[in-house]
Protein backbone atom coordinates (compact mmCIF):
# COMPACT_ATOMS: atom_id res chain seq x y z
CA UNK A 1 0.00 0.00 0.00
CA UNK A 2 1.31 3.43 -0.83
CA UNK A 3 1.37 5.73 2.16
CA UNK A 4 1.26 9.52 2.43
CA UNK A 5 1.81 11.13 5.83
CA UNK A 6 0.44 14.61 6.41
CA UNK A 7 1.28 14.77 10.06
CA UNK A 8 3.76 13.04 12.25
CA UNK A 9 2.52 9.49 12.50
CA UNK A 10 2.58 8.20 16.05
CA UNK A 11 2.43 4.44 16.29
CA UNK A 12 0.78 3.76 19.63
CA UNK A 13 0.21 0.05 19.30
CA UNK A 14 3.65 -1.06 18.20
CA UNK A 15 5.82 0.86 20.64
CA UNK A 16 6.94 -2.17 22.63
CA UNK A 17 7.09 -4.90 20.05
CA UNK A 18 7.52 -5.31 16.32
CA UNK A 19 4.42 -4.72 14.22
CA UNK A 20 2.25 -7.62 13.19
CA UNK A 21 3.23 -9.04 9.81
CA UNK A 22 1.20 -7.43 7.08
CA UNK A 23 -0.28 -9.58 4.38
CA UNK A 24 -3.24 -9.46 2.09
CA UNK A 25 -6.35 -11.14 3.44
CA UNK A 26 -7.07 -12.52 -0.05
CA UNK A 27 -4.66 -15.44 0.32
CA UNK A 28 -3.27 -16.59 3.64
CA UNK A 29 0.54 -16.83 3.88
CA UNK A 30 0.57 -20.59 4.42
CA UNK A 31 -1.67 -21.26 1.40
CA UNK A 32 0.31 -18.83 -0.75
CA UNK A 33 3.56 -20.46 0.37
CA UNK A 34 2.25 -23.90 -0.54
CA UNK A 35 1.06 -22.67 -3.95
CA UNK A 36 4.48 -21.17 -4.61
CA UNK A 37 6.16 -24.37 -3.50
CA UNK A 38 3.98 -26.50 -5.77
CA UNK A 39 4.57 -24.06 -8.63
CA UNK A 40 8.34 -24.19 -8.30
CA UNK A 41 8.35 -27.97 -8.01
CA UNK A 42 6.14 -28.35 -11.09
CA UNK A 43 8.55 -26.14 -13.03
CA UNK A 44 11.59 -28.03 -11.72
CA UNK A 45 10.30 -31.53 -12.44
CA UNK A 46 8.56 -30.23 -15.58
CA UNK A 47 11.91 -29.18 -17.03
CA UNK A 48 13.35 -32.66 -16.52
CA UNK A 49 10.24 -34.40 -17.83
CA UNK A 50 10.30 -32.16 -20.90
CA UNK A 51 13.87 -33.29 -21.56
CA UNK A 52 12.81 -36.91 -20.98
CA UNK A 53 9.91 -36.76 -23.44
CA UNK A 54 12.05 -34.90 -25.96
CA UNK A 55 14.76 -37.55 -25.84
CA UNK A 56 12.36 -40.47 -25.92
CA UNK A 57 9.48 -39.27 -28.12
CA UNK A 58 10.83 -36.47 -30.33
CA UNK A 59 14.38 -37.77 -30.81
CA UNK A 60 13.16 -41.37 -30.81
CA UNK A 61 15.93 -42.66 -28.56
CA UNK A 62 15.43 -46.31 -27.60
CA UNK A 63 14.42 -46.63 -23.95
CA UNK A 64 16.52 -47.99 -22.37
CA UNK A 65 19.25 -47.70 -24.95
CA UNK A 66 20.61 -51.19 -25.80
CA UNK A 67 22.43 -52.97 -24.27
CA UNK A 68 21.36 -51.35 -21.01
CA UNK A 69 18.46 -52.58 -18.87
CA UNK A 70 16.55 -50.87 -16.09
CA UNK A 71 16.10 -52.86 -12.85
CA UNK A 72 12.32 -52.70 -13.00
CA UNK A 73 11.65 -55.30 -10.31
CA UNK A 74 14.02 -53.74 -7.76
CA UNK A 75 12.49 -50.34 -8.50
CA UNK A 76 9.01 -51.87 -8.06
CA UNK A 77 9.94 -53.19 -4.61
CA UNK A 78 11.41 -49.78 -3.82
CA UNK A 79 8.15 -48.17 -4.97
CA UNK A 80 6.16 -50.43 -2.67
CA UNK A 81 8.42 -49.43 0.22
CA UNK A 82 7.97 -45.74 -0.49
CA UNK A 83 4.19 -46.01 -0.90
CA UNK A 84 3.98 -47.98 2.34
CA UNK A 85 5.95 -45.23 4.07
CA UNK A 86 3.18 -42.79 3.13
CA UNK A 87 0.66 -45.03 4.89
CA UNK A 88 2.81 -45.11 8.06
CA UNK A 89 3.17 -41.33 7.79
CA UNK A 90 -0.61 -40.98 7.62
CA UNK A 91 -0.95 -43.40 10.55
CA UNK A 92 1.50 -41.30 12.58
CA UNK A 93 -0.54 -38.16 12.06
CA UNK A 94 -3.85 -39.87 12.81
CA UNK A 95 -2.25 -41.27 15.98
CA UNK A 96 -1.12 -37.90 17.30
CA UNK A 97 -4.55 -36.45 16.54
CA UNK A 98 -6.06 -39.14 18.79
CA UNK A 99 -3.42 -38.61 21.47
CA UNK A 100 -1.65 -41.91 20.75
CA UNK A 101 1.96 -40.84 21.28
CA UNK A 102 3.45 -44.28 20.69
CA UNK A 103 1.55 -44.61 17.45
CA UNK A 104 3.06 -41.29 16.38
CA UNK A 105 6.57 -42.37 17.32
CA UNK A 106 6.27 -45.80 15.69
CA UNK A 107 4.71 -44.29 12.55
CA UNK A 108 7.43 -41.67 12.15
CA UNK A 109 10.22 -44.14 12.89
CA UNK A 110 8.88 -46.64 10.36
CA UNK A 111 8.44 -43.89 7.78
CA UNK A 112 12.02 -42.75 8.31
CA UNK A 113 13.41 -46.28 8.09
CA UNK A 114 11.47 -47.05 4.92
CA UNK A 115 12.56 -43.78 3.36
CA UNK A 116 16.14 -44.59 4.26
CA UNK A 117 15.75 -48.06 2.77
CA UNK A 118 14.44 -46.49 -0.45
CA UNK A 119 17.40 -44.15 -0.68
CA UNK A 120 19.99 -46.84 0.10
CA UNK A 121 18.39 -49.20 -2.42
CA UNK A 122 18.50 -46.47 -5.04
CA UNK A 123 22.18 -45.93 -4.27
CA UNK A 124 22.87 -49.66 -4.69
CA UNK A 125 20.85 -49.63 -7.91
CA UNK A 126 23.01 -46.80 -9.24
CA UNK A 127 26.19 -48.76 -8.49
CA UNK A 128 24.93 -51.87 -10.30
CA UNK A 129 22.88 -50.47 -13.17
CA UNK A 130 25.85 -50.64 -15.54
CA UNK A 131 25.81 -47.19 -17.13
CA UNK A 132 27.01 -43.79 -16.03
CA UNK A 133 25.75 -40.23 -16.37
CA UNK A 134 27.96 -39.68 -19.42
CA UNK A 135 26.63 -42.69 -21.39
CA UNK A 136 24.28 -40.81 -23.70
CA UNK A 137 21.05 -38.88 -23.37
CA UNK A 138 19.16 -41.86 -21.98
CA UNK A 139 21.57 -42.30 -19.08
CA UNK A 140 21.73 -38.56 -18.38
CA UNK A 141 17.96 -38.20 -18.18
CA UNK A 142 17.62 -41.36 -16.09
CA UNK A 143 20.11 -40.15 -13.50
CA UNK A 144 18.80 -36.58 -13.52
CA UNK A 145 15.16 -37.56 -12.99
CA UNK A 146 15.75 -40.26 -10.39
CA UNK A 147 18.54 -38.21 -8.80
CA UNK A 148 16.33 -35.14 -8.52
CA UNK A 149 13.71 -37.26 -6.81
CA UNK A 150 16.38 -38.83 -4.61
CA UNK A 151 17.43 -35.35 -3.51
CA UNK A 152 13.82 -34.69 -2.50
CA UNK A 153 13.77 -37.95 -0.54
CA UNK A 154 16.97 -36.87 1.23
CA UNK A 155 15.36 -33.57 2.22
CA UNK A 156 12.26 -35.47 3.35
CA UNK A 157 14.40 -37.82 5.42
CA UNK A 158 16.10 -34.86 7.10
CA UNK A 159 12.68 -33.43 7.98
CA UNK A 160 11.52 -36.85 9.18
CA UNK A 161 14.60 -37.23 11.36
CA UNK A 162 13.86 -33.98 13.17
CA UNK A 163 10.18 -34.88 13.43
CA UNK A 164 11.02 -38.28 14.92
CA UNK A 165 13.46 -36.80 17.44
CA UNK A 166 10.87 -34.22 18.44
CA UNK A 167 8.21 -36.92 18.75
CA UNK A 168 10.41 -38.94 21.11
CA UNK A 169 11.02 -35.80 23.14
CA UNK A 170 7.27 -35.34 23.51
CA UNK A 171 6.95 -32.19 21.44
CA UNK A 172 3.69 -33.05 19.69
CA UNK A 173 0.16 -33.27 21.07
CA UNK A 174 -3.39 -33.60 19.69
CA UNK A 175 -3.65 -29.81 19.80
CA UNK A 176 -0.17 -28.99 18.51
CA UNK A 177 1.16 -31.18 15.68
CA UNK A 178 1.70 -28.73 12.85
CA UNK A 179 5.27 -29.98 12.45
CA UNK A 180 4.01 -33.48 11.65
CA UNK A 181 1.31 -32.12 9.31
CA UNK A 182 3.73 -30.09 7.20
CA UNK A 183 6.32 -32.87 7.07
CA UNK A 184 3.59 -35.32 6.07
CA UNK A 185 2.45 -33.11 3.20
CA UNK A 186 6.01 -32.97 1.90
CA UNK A 187 6.48 -36.73 2.22
CA UNK A 188 3.27 -37.49 0.29
CA UNK A 189 4.35 -35.01 -2.37
CA UNK A 190 7.68 -36.87 -2.73
CA UNK A 191 5.70 -40.09 -3.09
CA UNK A 192 3.45 -38.63 -5.76
CA UNK A 193 6.47 -37.52 -7.75
CA UNK A 194 8.03 -40.97 -7.48
CA UNK A 195 4.86 -42.61 -8.80
CA UNK A 196 5.09 -40.34 -11.84
CA UNK A 197 8.85 -40.93 -12.28
CA UNK A 198 8.57 -44.71 -11.83
CA UNK A 199 5.63 -45.01 -14.20
CA UNK A 200 7.18 -42.96 -16.98
CA UNK A 201 10.87 -43.91 -16.67
CA UNK A 202 10.68 -47.58 -15.67
CA UNK A 203 7.32 -48.96 -16.80
CA UNK A 204 6.10 -47.20 -19.93
Amino acid sequence: MASYSHAEHVEHVHEEHPPEPHYSSRVSPSVLGMFLFIGTEIMLFGAFFTAYFFVRVVAGTAWPTPPFHLPIFVAFVNTCILVTSSFTMHWALQSVKRGNVWGLRAGLLLTFLMGLTFLVTQGIEYSRVGFALKDGAFATIFYCLTGLHGAHVFVGLSILLFMTIRAFRGHFSPEDHRGVEIGGIYWHFVDVMWIVVYTTVYIL
Binding site: S3, H6, V10, R26
Partner: protein, 188 residues
Protein backbone atom coordinates in the same frame (compact mmCIF):
# COMPACT_ATOMS: atom_id res chain seq x y z
CA UNK B 1 -10.11 -25.42 -6.98
CA UNK B 2 -8.78 -27.56 -4.20
CA UNK B 3 -5.13 -27.34 -3.23
CA UNK B 4 -4.11 -31.03 -3.14
CA UNK B 5 -1.37 -30.30 -0.61
CA UNK B 6 -3.44 -28.16 1.74
CA UNK B 7 -3.29 -30.72 4.54
CA UNK B 8 -1.65 -34.06 5.18
CA UNK B 9 -4.96 -35.87 4.78
CA UNK B 10 -5.65 -34.24 1.42
CA UNK B 11 -2.08 -34.93 0.25
CA UNK B 12 -2.59 -38.58 1.20
CA UNK B 13 -5.84 -38.72 -0.77
CA UNK B 14 -4.09 -37.09 -3.70
CA UNK B 15 -1.38 -39.74 -3.54
CA UNK B 16 -4.02 -42.49 -3.66
CA UNK B 17 -5.65 -40.80 -6.67
CA UNK B 18 -2.27 -40.61 -8.44
CA UNK B 19 -1.55 -44.30 -7.72
CA UNK B 20 -4.95 -45.31 -9.12
CA UNK B 21 -4.35 -43.12 -12.17
CA UNK B 22 -0.89 -44.64 -12.73
CA UNK B 23 -2.32 -48.19 -12.49
CA UNK B 24 -4.98 -47.36 -15.08
CA UNK B 25 -2.36 -45.90 -17.45
CA UNK B 26 0.03 -48.84 -17.06
CA UNK B 27 -2.80 -51.35 -17.53
CA UNK B 28 -4.04 -49.64 -20.67
CA UNK B 29 -0.54 -49.22 -22.09
CA UNK B 30 0.09 -52.93 -21.55
CA UNK B 31 -2.84 -53.70 -23.86
CA UNK B 32 -2.06 -51.05 -26.48
CA UNK B 33 0.26 -48.03 -26.58
CA UNK B 34 -2.40 -45.66 -27.88
CA UNK B 35 -4.88 -46.96 -25.34
CA UNK B 36 -2.27 -46.04 -22.74
CA UNK B 37 -2.00 -42.53 -24.16
CA UNK B 38 -5.79 -42.20 -24.06
CA UNK B 39 -5.83 -43.50 -20.49
CA UNK B 40 -3.13 -41.00 -19.54
CA UNK B 41 -5.17 -38.13 -20.95
CA UNK B 42 -8.29 -39.40 -19.20
CA UNK B 43 -6.45 -39.98 -15.90
CA UNK B 44 -4.89 -36.51 -15.90
CA UNK B 45 -8.24 -34.96 -16.84
CA UNK B 46 -9.98 -37.03 -14.15
CA UNK B 47 -7.56 -35.94 -11.44
CA UNK B 48 -7.88 -32.36 -12.68
CA UNK B 49 -11.68 -32.61 -12.53
CA UNK B 50 -11.48 -34.12 -9.04
CA UNK B 51 -9.27 -31.26 -7.88
CA UNK B 52 -11.53 -28.69 -9.52
CA UNK B 53 -14.86 -29.96 -8.28
CA UNK B 54 -13.91 -31.28 -4.87
CA UNK B 55 -15.28 -28.77 -2.39
CA UNK B 56 -12.62 -27.09 -0.29
CA UNK B 57 -13.41 -27.73 3.38
CA UNK B 58 -14.67 -24.55 5.02
CA UNK B 59 -14.57 -22.55 1.78
CA UNK B 60 -18.25 -21.60 2.05
CA UNK B 61 -18.07 -20.61 5.68
CA UNK B 62 -17.76 -16.86 6.19
CA UNK B 63 -14.42 -15.79 7.67
CA UNK B 64 -14.51 -14.85 11.36
CA UNK B 65 -15.23 -11.15 11.89
CA UNK B 66 -12.11 -9.08 12.41
CA UNK B 67 -11.62 -7.60 15.84
CA UNK B 68 -9.51 -4.56 16.53
CA UNK B 69 -7.92 -3.17 19.66
CA UNK B 70 -6.51 0.25 20.43
CA UNK B 71 -4.60 1.73 23.37
CA UNK B 72 -6.72 3.37 26.12
CA UNK B 73 -7.33 7.09 25.74
CA UNK B 74 -7.22 7.02 21.97
CA UNK B 75 -9.92 7.05 19.32
CA UNK B 76 -8.55 5.80 16.05
CA UNK B 77 -10.66 6.15 12.95
CA UNK B 78 -10.33 4.24 9.71
CA UNK B 79 -11.86 6.07 6.76
CA UNK B 80 -12.75 4.15 3.62
CA UNK B 81 -13.51 6.28 0.60
CA UNK B 82 -13.78 5.37 -3.09
CA UNK B 83 -11.64 7.32 -5.56
CA UNK B 84 -13.03 10.75 -6.34
CA UNK B 85 -14.62 11.30 -2.92
CA UNK B 86 -14.41 15.10 -2.43
CA UNK B 87 -14.64 15.21 1.36
CA UNK B 88 -15.37 13.11 4.44
CA UNK B 89 -16.60 14.13 7.86
CA UNK B 90 -14.84 12.57 10.84
CA UNK B 91 -15.86 13.17 14.45
CA UNK B 92 -13.69 15.65 16.35
CA UNK B 93 -12.79 13.13 19.05
CA UNK B 94 -10.54 11.22 16.62
CA UNK B 95 -6.94 11.06 17.82
CA UNK B 96 -5.53 9.30 14.77
CA UNK B 97 -6.93 8.77 11.27
CA UNK B 98 -6.04 6.48 8.41
CA UNK B 99 -7.70 7.06 5.06
CA UNK B 100 -7.84 4.04 2.77
CA UNK B 101 -8.85 4.52 -0.84
CA UNK B 102 -9.36 1.24 -2.74
CA UNK B 103 -7.88 1.20 -6.23
CA UNK B 104 -11.09 0.13 -7.97
CA UNK B 105 -9.80 -1.63 -11.07
CA UNK B 106 -11.96 -3.63 -13.46
CA UNK B 107 -11.41 -7.37 -13.83
CA UNK B 108 -9.58 -6.89 -17.11
CA UNK B 109 -7.36 -4.20 -15.59
CA UNK B 110 -6.63 -6.37 -12.55
CA UNK B 111 -5.82 -9.42 -14.69
CA UNK B 112 -3.55 -7.51 -17.03
CA UNK B 113 -1.95 -5.48 -14.25
CA UNK B 114 -2.98 -2.25 -15.95
CA UNK B 115 -3.90 -0.64 -12.65
CA UNK B 116 -1.50 2.31 -12.73
CA UNK B 117 -4.22 4.84 -13.60
CA UNK B 118 -6.56 3.45 -10.93
CA UNK B 119 -3.84 3.58 -8.31
CA UNK B 120 -2.96 7.14 -9.35
CA UNK B 121 -6.61 8.17 -8.87
CA UNK B 122 -6.69 6.45 -5.49
CA UNK B 123 -3.40 8.06 -4.44
CA UNK B 124 -4.73 11.48 -5.40
CA UNK B 125 -7.95 10.98 -3.43
CA UNK B 126 -6.04 9.62 -0.44
CA UNK B 127 -3.69 12.61 -0.47
CA UNK B 128 -6.58 15.07 -0.81
CA UNK B 129 -8.62 13.57 2.00
CA UNK B 130 -5.60 13.21 4.28
CA UNK B 131 -4.74 16.87 3.70
CA UNK B 132 -8.32 17.89 4.41
CA UNK B 133 -8.57 15.85 7.61
CA UNK B 134 -5.23 17.03 9.02
CA UNK B 135 -6.02 19.33 11.90
CA UNK B 136 -4.81 20.23 15.36
CA UNK B 137 -1.92 17.79 15.38
CA UNK B 138 -4.09 14.74 14.69
CA UNK B 139 -1.94 12.32 12.72
CA UNK B 140 -3.53 11.43 9.38
CA UNK B 141 -2.23 8.94 6.89
CA UNK B 142 -3.53 8.21 3.42
CA UNK B 143 -3.16 4.81 1.81
CA UNK B 144 -4.13 3.03 -1.38
CA UNK B 145 -5.94 -0.23 -0.66
CA UNK B 146 -6.95 -3.40 -2.49
CA UNK B 147 -9.36 -3.30 -5.43
CA UNK B 148 -12.24 -4.41 -3.19
CA UNK B 149 -13.25 -1.92 -0.43
CA UNK B 150 -14.01 -4.74 2.04
CA UNK B 151 -10.61 -6.30 1.39
CA UNK B 152 -9.01 -2.89 1.77
CA UNK B 153 -10.63 -2.59 5.22
CA UNK B 154 -9.57 -6.13 6.01
CA UNK B 155 -5.96 -5.32 5.15
CA UNK B 156 -5.94 -1.98 6.94
CA UNK B 157 -7.30 -3.43 10.19
CA UNK B 158 -4.40 -5.86 10.36
CA UNK B 159 -1.93 -3.01 10.81
CA UNK B 160 -4.10 -0.25 12.17
CA UNK B 161 -6.20 -0.89 15.25
CA UNK B 162 -9.38 1.17 14.84
CA UNK B 163 -12.18 2.21 17.20
CA UNK B 164 -14.45 3.29 14.37
CA UNK B 165 -14.75 2.86 10.63
CA UNK B 166 -16.23 5.65 8.55
CA UNK B 167 -17.39 4.58 5.10
CA UNK B 168 -17.94 7.00 2.24
CA UNK B 169 -20.12 4.72 0.18
CA UNK B 170 -23.61 3.37 -0.31
CA UNK B 171 -25.62 1.41 2.27
CA UNK B 172 -24.73 -1.90 0.63
CA UNK B 173 -21.00 -1.30 1.11
CA UNK B 174 -21.56 -0.18 4.71
CA UNK B 175 -23.49 -3.41 5.31
CA UNK B 176 -20.75 -5.59 3.80
CA UNK B 177 -18.08 -3.98 5.97
CA UNK B 178 -20.29 -4.34 9.07
CA UNK B 179 -20.51 -8.08 8.39
CA UNK B 180 -16.74 -8.35 8.16
CA UNK B 181 -15.74 -6.67 11.42
CA UNK B 182 -16.80 -6.10 14.99
CA UNK B 183 -15.59 -2.48 14.86
CA UNK B 184 -18.46 0.07 14.75
CA UNK B 185 -19.12 1.19 11.15
CA UNK B 186 -20.85 4.43 10.22
CA UNK B 187 -21.58 6.13 6.91
CA UNK B 188 -19.64 9.31 6.17
Amino acid sequence: MRNPLRSETEAFRFLIAVIVGALVIVGAAYINTWLGVAAAILAVAGIGWWLKDEPVPGAHEPPPPLESTTPPGTHRVLVVAPPGTPSVHVDAKATEIVVVVPALASKVEALTGAVDDRRAEAEQTAATLARELSRDGVPVRGEVGADDPVLAVDDALRTFGADEIVVAGDAELVGRIRQRTTVPVSPA
